[in-house]
Point group: C2
Chain length 663, copies 2
């Protein structure tokens, strides 16, 4: 494993060169830049916007259409109460501290991590050990600090390393203690920051003119899907299992957004909530279709042993061996793998990492992240969690809405149990204002308690029950007011709260990682090192075809128009470049934009109506009549053919002006 | 003109029946309903979501692809300074008052309008005149108030009517005066509300952890496009004219959202900013393609005369006669017309209404709204404004960014003008701290002033200038410090700030109006009145094909699977309904969902692999082998054929079980 990121062709990936290219080609750009910009906010320019739309389009086909998922589109504005119930108001927070001298705001865990890492690096330098200049890309985070060569005691080194190993586990108080204990100082000012305070990551606002309805911008699209569960189940004609899906923006007021698309404050998510019966092992009817697919897994046990060695394993085996908790979770992990492959991600730079127990929400049964290797290390791009019945349960409890499935049983179930029955006519008048409380306490008793209460009634003619808040906390109920008996009951329906398997995609992170995975430069061809190429698959490429007239000669114009119209008619996006730059320069520009195909219109076109078609990756060309070329383009874009098929079918072209161009 | 809205077939449109159907089929639903809901926030269920996606897809093809527009995707979060500059912080507000008794918050103009209208209605009743129960759908607003039959003086009636005619023109103070003068009281409490205060309609939040960067949720997508102008011009290789486009959510914290999708707080917009040279009459190269298209226009002059009579006129004529200000504006109005037609809007319920002078922003040159007639009256669904150079100018002025076009002139321009030149070496030392101010004042002089100043220098050896804030406001500058001369200057480039033509689409309003326009019921067929149908064109319909097996018989399953896969492969969304309901019930359900085509799989399918295809609108059926039917479906969905073509080509089918179904 090298310590530097690589391009698609295995070249060292030079991040500043790539960044400059993405900026020059307007893939994305800092938002409000002419006003100085706002950290964590980015606009997508035309190629980034088209790339995003194509990823979403493929996502919709791969997931929603393929499995008849119910797509819904919910509001971003969310009232306080909903996110209070879901736990976000209380728990969706990071710890932050403030530098009292310059007002710097620091994310506490990052701060501790950065300072300790810098000290360890300084120690290595002082010991004369080799210090890697590039961060290890297998590490998850990358922030630089200046190091000072100071040797540490061996025991201190070990202590720091232990702290760093469990940095994600400290709460605010503990982080504050670490800052004091190790006298951690902000390098910018040389002073210790203030003790960490909790900072909720949701953007807050007020809904309506009266200002009394606080709300937030949603931090995930999931809640809207849960709240609509009963309606969706109805729409699905009560059939289980089923999935809903949403594509939309979510918001997190990050304390320290990174430069670039990897940690931003406004981002596009695509989330699926697959609702499944918790009984019967969470089987999936289409699991058989994917069970042989080999996944790259980094499971919990391996991580616990301090290693990052991945295991390759068919998903069927992983589920059988309980590496992955259940079939439905395994099915979606496999589908995520196939999706990433389809959009052109380099699968040698993908791993599925299982969450550690303390990393998951307490209610989660299992959770795996699809991580993509980039120049910033392994980046979590897709999460796939089993959220159990948590969300539906808390919303149902809070609102009283029946967020559950009622299933008719094939055979009625006979249930024998201790049942409590109060005599309503006498009970109320007897207990007066305490009637409801006492009745609720009776009904809340367990089977074991009831057996005892029944015995009391038989033996003493009355039962004694603890009821908080009534009289002295003990209440006696005589047998003419209540019966407790062991009886049969027949159930024709079964009620249950579904469990939720949630594949959740961060589209911006996927998009950025994909760009790195598709990036290379023509140096390997013996070409110019600066000539970057983005080898997006045709389905995903922002523009599919570049149309290049040899020159501004008016004779070419009708051909440009005709071919443009033909492509537009079959829904293939093309752009004309009739600028005065050389053909080579024009193709080079479009290599950077990731345009997979190019058409040249030259003097031969005027003579015999043939045109040439160029493949971006090989720079090879073929020549044929317009209709043949258009049909080849269509096959390449819809994925039914590859370039080698086209090359085999159509005559190659190596015209002089093009020679000049591709060198 | 009738006073009630009608369905596609001219039947009276019963709004409650339609609403119940839309709710039952989950087109949209109040957001957070299990928490009691939040006014003005709606979620789209699966059919609404698919309808929205199809409208957007067609919009993208019709506008962006067709004209090579540069689509960009900007953030919703916007810092204060940007919207301060654009004018939204100061002016994007409505007037609201509060009822001191019950705390009701009222939008002041609506309140005045409602109370006065109720009094006029009461007067009519008292005079024994007929009062229309239904609001006139040609009116724009619809809010009900209880009326009391009280006769008014004739003069008072006239006064009220005059106030109502110019209700949009009053400011807060004036609305407050009307409330006092006419003693307008909130019917809910019988008390006068407080004087109107300005309420800004933007949702406010804070960006970043330090809470010192106030921001808003954008009220329109336009500003992001303006801020990126220089980058987009670069991306377009400096070529003008060009257009950018954005599809995304915007937010307005409405004081009183309406029930339904017509006035909501979070909504999807699609906006185009077409940048054009203000010189040369704003011509458009493709205007010739649309000039014969006949538009339905309600121009400013007609409205000034108090009428709503529309004029039908080819757009070419409208531009020639200056009814529409310029070609580019006319071109986009025509393109909007074609778009609405393409998605299935009833064009007899569309008009383009010109804004009154006082209705437009002060900088706008001209503005037309596409209004669609619905059961709530005429609804503004698309705006098409000439925003002049306003936005680019204010942002450029505030930030210093060059939001302009530099164009190389074919022939250099010789300019003769009065020029001011200061002797920098002497000027600064002489005026000391006032140097820059005095210099700026000199450079800010007009040509006429300079001519006079030049004469003063010649005559007196010095000039006298008013400079606020320096000495006593008058400054003398001698001729050794400054020269003012009439000189020649040669310009090789021309700089200008482009004007902006902005077509702006409210997707939710279009979607809702379209639903009303496509809605009818089978009553006209002699069928059941309750059987609603949504006759969406196939391109727009949420689902294209319903697959219906005759029964749950296992023999049908492989056929269902095969046909589903075939349709999925060619990207046509289909749904299977294998529920136990009768075929008639299942088709009826899908009429309500607007599914244009249905496939039945029956015992004959098992014998000879033929299937039937049903047309939603006529309920006619044809029968053929699977591939023939799939190819017919493809032609119907891509619009290359209509049902009558398919009916002419394939044998009709009138099997018994289907007879039962379509009755």
């Amino acid at each position: 494993m090298t310590s530097t990121a690589t391009t698609l062709k295995g070249q060292p990936l030079d991040r500043p060169t790539l960044d400059a290219m993405l900026r020059r080609r307007l893939f994305f750009t800092p938002a409000f830049e002419i006003y100085g910009g706002v950290a964590g906010l980015f606009d997508y320019g035309p190629p980034g916007c088209a790339l995003q739309a194509n990823i979403i389009d493929l996502w919709r086909k791969h997931f929603i259409l393929e499995e008849d998922m119910l797509e819904i589109d919910c509001t971003v504005l969310t009232p306080h109460e909903v996110l209070k119930t879901s736990g976000h108001v209380d728990k969706f927070a990071d710890w932050m501290c403030k530098d009292p001298k310059n007002g710097d705001i620091l994310r506490a865990d990052h701060f501790v991590e950065d300072v300790l890492e810098a000290r360890l690096k300084g120690d290595k330098e002082a010991r004369g050990q080799k210090v890697e200049e590039e961060d290890d890309p297998t590490k998850k985070k990358k922030r630089k600090q200046k190091t000072v060569a100071v040797k540490l005691d061996d025991a201190v080194v070990q202590e720091y390393e232990e702290v760093l190993a469990k940095i994600d586990n400290y709460n605010g108080e503990e982080l504050g203690e670490l800052i004091k204990k190790y006298d951690l100082r902000n390098p910018a000012t040389g002073v210790q920051p203030s003790p960490p305070v909790s900072f909720n990551l949701m953007f807050q606002t007020k809904i309506g003119p009266s200002s009394n309805l606080p709300g937030y911008l949603r931090p995930e699209t999931a809640q809207g899907q849960f709240l609509n569960f009963a309606k969706l189940l109805d729409f699905n004609m009560q059939q289980m299992p089923f999935a809903s899906a949403s594509i939309g923006r979510s918001y997190r007021n990050e304390i320290s957004p990174r430069a670039g698309l990897l940690r931003v404050r406004e981002f596009l998510m695509a989330e699926i909530e697959h609702f499944v019966d918790p009984e019967g092992g969470k089987k999936h009817s289409r699991f058989v279709e994917v069970e042989d697919l080999e996944l790259t897994l980094l499971d919990r046990d391996t991580q616990l042993s301090g290693k990052t060695t991945v295991r390759k394993m068919p998903v069927g085996e992983a589920v059988r061996n309980k590496v992955i908790d259940n079939e439905t979770l395994g099915y979606f992990i496999a589908r995520i793998h196939l999706f990433l492959q389809k959009i052109g991600v380099d699968m040698s730079k993908v791993r599925f990492r299982q969450h550690m127990q303390n990393e998951m929400a307490h209610y989660a049964a299992d959770c795996w992240d699809a991580e993509l290797l980039t120049s910033s290390g392994w980046i979590e791009c897709v999460g796939c969690a089993d959220r159990s019945a948590y969300d539906l349960s808390v919303h149902a409890k809070k609102t009283g809405a029946p967020l559950l499935v009622r299933e008719r049983l094939d055979e009625p179930r006979v249930i024998e149990e201790w049942q409590v029955e109060v005599d309503k006519k006498k009970f109320g008048p007897f207990f007066k204002k305490d009637g409801k409380t006492v009745e609720a306490a009776l009904l809340a008793t367990t089977q074991e308690q009831r057996e005892k209460l029944s015995k009391q009634l038989t033996d003493n003619g009355e039962l004694e029950l603890e009821v908080a808040g009534v009289a002295d906390g003990k209440v006696k109920v005589s047998k003419d007011l209540v019966q407790v008996e062991f009886r049969k009951r027949i159930e024709n329906t079964r009620e249950y709260t579904p469990n939720v398997i949630e594949p959740s995609f961060g589209i911006g992170r996927i998009l950025y990682s994909l760009i790195e995975h598709c990036y290379w430069n023509r140096a390997t061809d013996g070409g110019d090192e600066a000539r970057g190429v983005l080898s997006f698959p045709p389905t995903i490429a922002p523009t599919k075809v570049l149309i290049v007239p040899l020159s501004a000669n008016a004779q070419f114009k009708p051909f440009i128009k005709k071919i443009s119209q033909k492509l537009r008619k079959i829904g293939i996006s093309a752009r004309v470049d009739d600028s005065s730059a050389t053909i080579g320069k024009r193709y080079s520009r479009n290599d950077e934009l990731g345009t997979p195909l190019g058409i040249t219109i030259d003097f031969q076109t005027v003579k015999d109506s043939t045109i040439t078609l160029r493949d971006r990756d090989s720079t090879k060309q073929v020549r044929a009549d317009e209709d043949t070329i258009v049909s080849a383009i269509q096959s390449l874009v819809d994925g039914s053919k590859e370039w080698k098929d086209v090359e085999a079918e159509l005559p190659a072209f190596e015209g002089q002006e093009v020679e000049v161009a591709v060198r």
